[in-house]
């Protein structure tokens, strides 16, 4: 049984189609990247999986549960963890408190177990030394890590990562991909939207390309980035050569 399964998922915002009969499956522990032009519907796809947005049509199943009547909070507790493009931590709470809240609310952990889970998430993401800092004082890289830590503290079975490498320098991207590969080796499935294609290629074993709400390519990463359709609508010429060199 696949961990996550979408069948015929469609969504429109007014005239803008962000989901057009999207069908795919993801197995336990898989790592899949999602690329696509701006406005293709990548973030909307995440929003439909996490329950922030309701699809107009289609079915989403997670671990055998149909999610149609399952709210966002319950989906998080089932094991769907999500990060957002623009990190919005509780700025006046400390980094640790942010992670603790995720452990308590997302993983339903209590007492010492919640502390351990929150601290574990901070140490996985290299944030221990910032634990007592107000989250609002963090620079971008650390905010992104906190975004990841908060999702991890919910004890996810799948992580939906939305442009988590955007705005990071090459070395920071390498640190981050190492963390993500580590999570994968623990059996956490990863579905990752990213324009930093190099980061994806180092981590995922399958790549989807969305365009105008439809999947136009799905397969091994090297095949997808070599596809003429993907090059013409998304990658272009020069930049991707630099990114892949």
């Amino acid at each position: 049984m696949p961990l996550l399964q979408l069948v015929g998922v469609s969504k429109k915002f007014g005239q803008v189609v962000v989901g057009q009969e999207i069908t795919f499956q993801l197995e336990e522990g898989a790592a899949v990247g999602i690329i696509g032009p701006n406005g293709a519907g990548k973030t909307s796809l995440f929003a439909m999986i996490s329950g922030d947005v309701k699809p107009d049509a289609g079915e989403i199943d997670f671990d055998g549960h149909n999610l149609a009547r399952v709210g966002q909070a319950a989906r998080a507790r089932l094991g769907i963890g999500r990060t957002y493009q623009v990190p919005r931590p509780f700025e006046h709470m400390t980094v640790f408190e942010n992670a603790l809240l995720a452990a308590q609310q997302g993983a339903r952990a209590r007492g010492q177990a919640a502390y351990a889970l929150a601290y574990g998430a901070l140490s996985r993401t290299g944030l221990e030394e910032w634990a007592n800092a107000p989250a609002g004082s963090l620079a971008l890289m650390h905010r992104k890590r906190l975004e990841l830590a908060r999702a991890l503290a919910t004890r996810p079975r799948i992580l939906l990562l939305d442009e988590i490498a955007g705005g990071l320098t090459d070395l920071e991207v390498n640190d981050l991909t190492a963390i993500i590969r580590g999570l994968r080796s623990e059996g956490i499935a990863v579905l990752w939207i990213e324009h930093v294609v190099r980061a994806l290629l180092s981590t995922v074993d399958r790549l989807l390309c969305l365009s105008s709400g439809s999947i136009i390519a799905d397969g091994p990463p090297k095949d997808v980035v070599a596809s003429e359709a993907v090059r013409s609508i998304y990658l272009g010429g020069k930049i991707i050569n630099t990114a892949l060199s």
Partner: protein, 243 residues
């Protein structure tokens, strides 16, 4: 003062207790791209916000074409010809795409960019011009923010994380535009996380490390290793491509 469009002299900026920018000086000449390189937290965004007038300096001065603008309000600086594409887009969410561009075009100087030109550049915009800004995806909002700065036809363009959230093909289109922008005599101060991309279009590179200038030079004078050392401090292994 010479011919510098923008001159930053001994600028120091604090974020509360933290010294984000410390005694930084540089100039941006007409028709020049100066790329700021530095790790996250090095002070690049703070520097750009301070030049735009959105963050107060602790000491030091900012000159625009020889006049001191250090104490001017941000809107006065925009009118003089200093425009910022901020990190994180910051559109007016309740205004439409076109209204956001009109805000940028208000009091615009004469130049090559008009709302029509932006529509040519981003061909998806015209048919969605009446949609409100919050309805656009992250990357689309970034494109609108770039358009909003360009239609002002500024003389100094401050670009913070220009490529963030954009599809590679769009990044390529925007970078291809830079020579045309600087050919008008515009000076660009560029912050870009992708060093290869940022240094590739630069006439000069200015590296920041923990708020201080660690290296300056032209791309021809500087090696990748020098830039990397200036960036992270000390000797570090060159980032290996894991692919």
């Amino acid at each position: 003062m010479g011919d510098a469009l923008l001159e930053v002299k001994d600028l120091t900026v604090f974020h509360g207790q933290l010294c984000a920018v410390s005694g930084v000086s540089f100039t941006v000449e007409p028709g020049e791209v100066l790329t700021m390189v530095g790790a996250n937290g090095a002070g690049k965004s703070t520097l750009l916000l301070t030049i735009a007038g959105l963050h107060r300096q602790t000491s030091g001065s900012i000159f625009f074409k020889g006049s001191d603008v250090t104490k001017l309000a941000p809107q006065r600086r925009v009118r003089l010809g200093i425009s910022l594409v901020p990190e994180g887009r910051r559109l007016f969410p309740s205004l439409t795409l076109e209204e956001n561009l009109q805000v940028g075009a208000h009091h615009a100087s004469k130049g090559v960019f008009s709302i029509e030109r932006i529509y040519e550049l981003f061909d998806w915009m015209p048919e969605r011009r009446r949609q409100r800004a919050w309805q656009f995806s992250g990357g689309e909002q970034q494109a609108i923010a770039i358009g909003r700065a360009l239609v002002a036809n500024p003389q100094v363009l401050l670009l913070d994380e220009l490529s963030l959230g954009l599809a590679p093909i769009v990044i390529e289109r925007i970078y291809a535009l830079i020579p045309e922008i600087v050919a008008q005599g515009v000076g660009i101060l560029l912050v870009e996380q992708d060093v290869t991309l940022g240094v590739g279009v630069a006439n000069r590179v200015h590296c920041l490390l923990e708020g201080k200038t660690s290296l300056t030079g032209t791309p021809q004078e500087l090696s990748a290793q020098q830039i990397e050392r200036a960036y992270f401090g000390g000797d570090m292994a060159v980032a290996e491509d894991p692919t």
